[in-house]
Symmetry: C5
Subunit: 321 residues, 5 copies
Amino acid sequence: MLINCAAYQEGHKLSDIPKEDISEYLKRPGCFVWVALKDPSSAELDEMREEFSLHELAVDDARSGHQRPKIEEYGDSLFAVLKAVEPHEDELRLGEVDIFVGSNYILSVRKQSEKGFADVRSRSENEPHLLQYGAAYVFYALIDKVVDRYFPVLDGLETELEAIEEQIFVKNQARSNIEALYELKSKLMVLKHAVDPLMEAVGKLYGGRVPQICAGMGEYFRDVYDHLQRLHATIEGIREMLATAIQVNLGMISLNETEVTKKLAAWAAIIAVPTMIAGVYGMNFKHMPELEWEWGYPLAMLAMIGIDVWLYSWFKRIRWL
Amino acid sequence: MLINCAAYQEGHKLSDIPKEDISEYLKRPGCFVWVALKDPSSAELDEMREEFSLHELAVDDARSGHQRPKIEEYGDSLFAVLKAVEPHEDELRLGEVDIFVGSNYILSVRKQSEKGFADVRSRSENEPHLLQYGAAYVFYALIDKVVDRYFPVLDGLETELEAIEEQIFVKNQARSNIEALYELKSKLMVLKHAVDPLMEAVGKLYGGRVPQICAGMGEYFRDVYDHLQRLHATIEGIREMLATAIQVNLGMISLNETEVTKKLAAWAAIIAVPTMIAGVYGMNFKHMPELEWEWGYPLAMLAMIGIDVWLYSWFKRIRWL
Amino acid sequence: MLINCAAYQEGHKLSDIPKEDISEYLKRPGCFVWVALKDPSSAELDEMREEFSLHELAVDDARSGHQRPKIEEYGDSLFAVLKAVEPHEDELRLGEVDIFVGSNYILSVRKQSEKGFADVRSRSENEPHLLQYGAAYVFYALIDKVVDRYFPVLDGLETELEAIEEQIFVKNQARSNIEALYELKSKLMVLKHAVDPLMEAVGKLYGGRVPQICAGMGEYFRDVYDHLQRLHATIEGIREMLATAIQVNLGMISLNETEVTKKLAAWAAIIAVPTMIAGVYGMNFKHMPELEWEWGYPLAMLAMIGIDVWLYSWFKRIRWL
Amino acid sequence: MLINCAAYQEGHKLSDIPKEDISEYLKRPGCFVWVALKDPSSAELDEMREEFSLHELAVDDARSGHQRPKIEEYGDSLFAVLKAVEPHEDELRLGEVDIFVGSNYILSVRKQSEKGFADVRSRSENEPHLLQYGAAYVFYALIDKVVDRYFPVLDGLETELEAIEEQIFVKNQARSNIEALYELKSKLMVLKHAVDPLMEAVGKLYGGRVPQICAGMGEYFRDVYDHLQRLHATIEGIREMLATAIQVNLGMISLNETEVTKKLAAWAAIIAVPTMIAGVYGMNFKHMPELEWEWGYPLAMLAMIGIDVWLYSWFKRIRWL
Amino acid sequence: MLINCAAYQEGHKLSDIPKEDISEYLKRPGCFVWVALKDPSSAELDEMREEFSLHELAVDDARSGHQRPKIEEYGDSLFAVLKAVEPHEDELRLGEVDIFVGSNYILSVRKQSEKGFADVRSRSENEPHLLQYGAAYVFYALIDKVVDRYFPVLDGLETELEAIEEQIFVKNQARSNIEALYELKSKLMVLKHAVDPLMEAVGKLYGGRVPQICAGMGEYFRDVYDHLQRLHATIEGIREMLATAIQVNLGMISLNETEVTKKLAAWAAIIAVPTMIAGVYGMNFKHMPELEWEWGYPLAMLAMIGIDVWLYSWFKRIRWL
């Protein structure tokens, strides 16, 4: 589905153009074309391939999807694959944003992703001094947008970790904690696989040898790289705390087991001792003087209760109860 | 066993040729020979060594098999070892594909592998514009095919992991889960040992200094490399989730132990308390007024049942039962 | 909030200057301006951006905060982000120190951090032979100060670890130990995220290609780098010991469980044996000669007590009690 | 002990020579001397040092032994340390092979190693076309031999791992499994310490800058390197499976514990319920109508047995028994 | 405290000299001064700084101590920090050796270290052919000495590990094993922090670009580097075995728990069954024919004993007892 198709010159929008005219505008000097597709059909991609003379392999990747994030050079054009990570109910939904960029065109292909880039377009159109950098600036703005959207997702995961941390030393929460930890780990891996390869790829867009198209934008791409590094470091931090939390949780489960065993032992003693005494006075020996005593029964009961009170307070003292 | 032996010129098949004529066709300019062997005898390999003047060490490797994936340069020819990974019943079967490639020949040797490359051959013959790149293109197409066949295998492992994840928090599944996790780990390692060294090797076929033979095919080999990186990243992801799942499974086992102990403790209490009371009224003291009461027995029974009902509901409340 | 704003020449302070005059002093040869802000408003930052013509992206980073430590070049000026780590009650509080430095100015922005840099300023003013290195020296002095403040924090964590190590083999401390270990790990991660990226960044300020502004100060920045490496090595050491301590703690919990089970078993035996004997003599067989004996009862009691004494001493000997 | 000392020229053996004549033969052009020592005395080493003018530090290393594998350049000669790993009863015995090689001599020193290199010598003498490469070829042949001998050792360890894997999910094997896993780990570490440093060292004998002496032998040393990489990869694979197996074993131990506890609980219930019922009818209340019934006793017994049969089948059903 | 102060020329000692004369001797061509300090006061260090014109930052490091091992260049002189590791009772004591070396002087500062370098001095003086390399040779000899002293310490740790390994599968040793493992880990970390940074530092003293002062000594420093690598590899090996041993120990603890539970269960059954039978014959039913039998009591006793004998032998057979 074609979302948008417009031509720009010297930082200003010329007009929306029909997609058939794209190749014409590409010939005009100082002019660039910006096209946005959403979940395009195979035919639409073929059309674009012809208009922009894109490389076969790049279009194949865009068509089949499920690529890992990357930025590839094809001659003097670039092909970028980014992952859109959007929280959806209790899961992270993974969309894809493919960007084809050349000296005078930019084509973004959004797949299985709710959030579009209308705001990138309108903000760019309001900043002609930046937009006149051309397609490279739009390329930067799109990547920056996708990366910026990772932050709230990661904040959500950090909040989840904190919620678990508050529960981790609470008794009888071990089961729900362990499930939450595993689920959090799964989500973290999704984000990690979106961030890490992209960081590596963006790192090649500034500094030493950069693709011709990105020349002069170094500080902008370094800024994106810096954001990705921040995401990466936070992800690694959460990952390490998660590993520790899982171990600690295991410890809490074992501690809990010990406490249950202690309780079992304490109550077993409290019940078993009177049972033993009762057993003794239930013996059928002819000569058992206590049985004849008038106060035998109350005394026996007193002994039982007394011992149990003492046992109970003792177990309380050593914290078995 | 000789599967196929044909000569090609300018992207088109000349004809199937007898293997004795190979060296003749090799002398024709612009012509290349494509030979496919399957589980060849030592003698067949020697024959090929002579026809193509292959390097002794490379032929030795192909003969003995069980090499790790690699791509080696011998002068201006290449020798590649790839692993064919094929699911077979509950296991992964490991075959080997060895490829010898020079400027005007390609020789593939398939061992212990069911799936052949007939489709690579027929597709190549239908695309003369690609086939005219010569042996290097066939080399690419074969590697690409082997690598593409890893994806369904890996998808199968991912599906297995998901199946385990669904079972991991279910009670009484710990034993089968742990077995499934270990088996999955074994299979993953098989795939990992097929993918990782190959990724490293293919990474040297594009970019900076590449073997003469692969010059001009950079974008194709980068595409294969990209697929291998995707496989690698997914394998690492599964591997990390597996490690976490094994730990979580251990936690579940411990949790289960605690629950069994709690049940044991609860039922022990429910049985022990009436036993104690019965013991008390089984004592043989002369003076035990309750024994004389008409309602003594029913009252004692009521007390026992009452206490047990209370215990039962209390254990239910604290979730020990 | 403006803390300080002064101009310096040839190692000596000229005077405090109003912030409106900054751009004037910047024009004087051999003169540099040193400004310190604390939790500045957005407006104050804009003012500074104009006076010093700072780069938009750098000012944006300083405004939004929560950056990871880094040192970035913008043309011939540098922008550094450092983390101030200050212990506060039982936690580590994380502030930020942003430094903009050019050939003739230095601007420090302190956020959410209690401790200022008045001592750096006064010490610098007392050492004209160093201060005449200009802004680069002040830049070094500020970084050095921030880094030096990490040492007491890290010493505190080492002391915490030692305190835990003393408790780790003490019985019944497992729960508090595990909590302490997790908390320590959290704090360690905070410090690690302050130290590691900074180490990487400072490493680029000496040796091969360094920013123009730091030329000639190599030995000073290497000294800072060396301190950061020492912090890093100590953090890694604590981290590894922590991981081991968590595992050892888990072992202690399991050991404790075993000991509780042994105690339970021993006492169960001591109670169950007399109960069994009493049960035997509570049987109602007509012909039980022992029941008739005059010494039957005392003998039975003696047997019970004797067996229990023997059991008790035996359990003591095998250390179950 | 001198095993062998011979001079070679143009790929053919001239004759065995007395060690005093070594220095003479070294002067002949196109001639090289091959000496083999076994567990030499310090004096023998000194003698060799003089004949071949070896470097002091290298001879010191050969004398003291217990070096890690390495290949060092001393001027235009090489000094190599390799580990001979030989299975002996249930252990791996570690010998050492030191090789001094120059342009016209090769000296091998074998220590605490059973297996000699007579087959290397005889095979070399039968392949004059290879032997005429001179000392470098013998150097390659010796290293290749030592490395080839690692394979059966590693195969043995793989077989051990498979044997453990077959036992790992079998009940009541946990103790022997854990011992076997630890022992296997120890052996694996021995092999790893023999292989890894050598791989690193051999990697420097082909490709870019190589020692003068190895020039032209690149493909042979790459072949050795490739074998070492294969060993390395297999060792890492076993190591990772071992780590997983140890964790899985821990899980099996815990599972077993749970099963024992379940059995304990089930039998406790089966014994405790009749005991409780018997207790009730052992009470001494005057008015207990059941006691008077003619069928009271058989009915009570029936109740006990009936409940137990039901309990038993129920525990069977929930797999506690 | 000044230990020694002497001047050397052409490999021979000129004489002990008073420290005030140092700067004079430094001016003599071909002469170098060797000074050894032990736990020097701040004043002594200042004195040396002046005599040798040492760099402020280096002297600061030597003064404050607690540096990590490193070798730093200050102009054409070097400053090295090494750790002296000395076993003391059950701990490892950490001293420091700081070395300042220039083309014509060497100054060693020993702190909190028992063992001096008198043997290095006397051996050097006996080897004029080596000593005439000048200060660089002494520098090598001191580092070599410090490194050589790590070997017996590491051997001690290996012996400790072996002692633990012998105990690890012995029952009831888990607690002492776990304590020993943790203590060994602590010591290992101390040694690791002494070895690893030094290895890195020494690695820069040979090969490519080396400090002017070490030129021509490459083979000696490579020898030290090789020793450090050997130490490093052994430390890593112990570290990995330690990690495995801790896990195995955890398994042994759990196994032990299972065995205790089995014992508990077996004895519980042996006691509970007779108790149940006794309970049955303790019931007060009017009509219990067995009670009337003359052989009722002995038969009941026989049944009890018989069942117990059978249970006992059965539990023995399944190894619960």
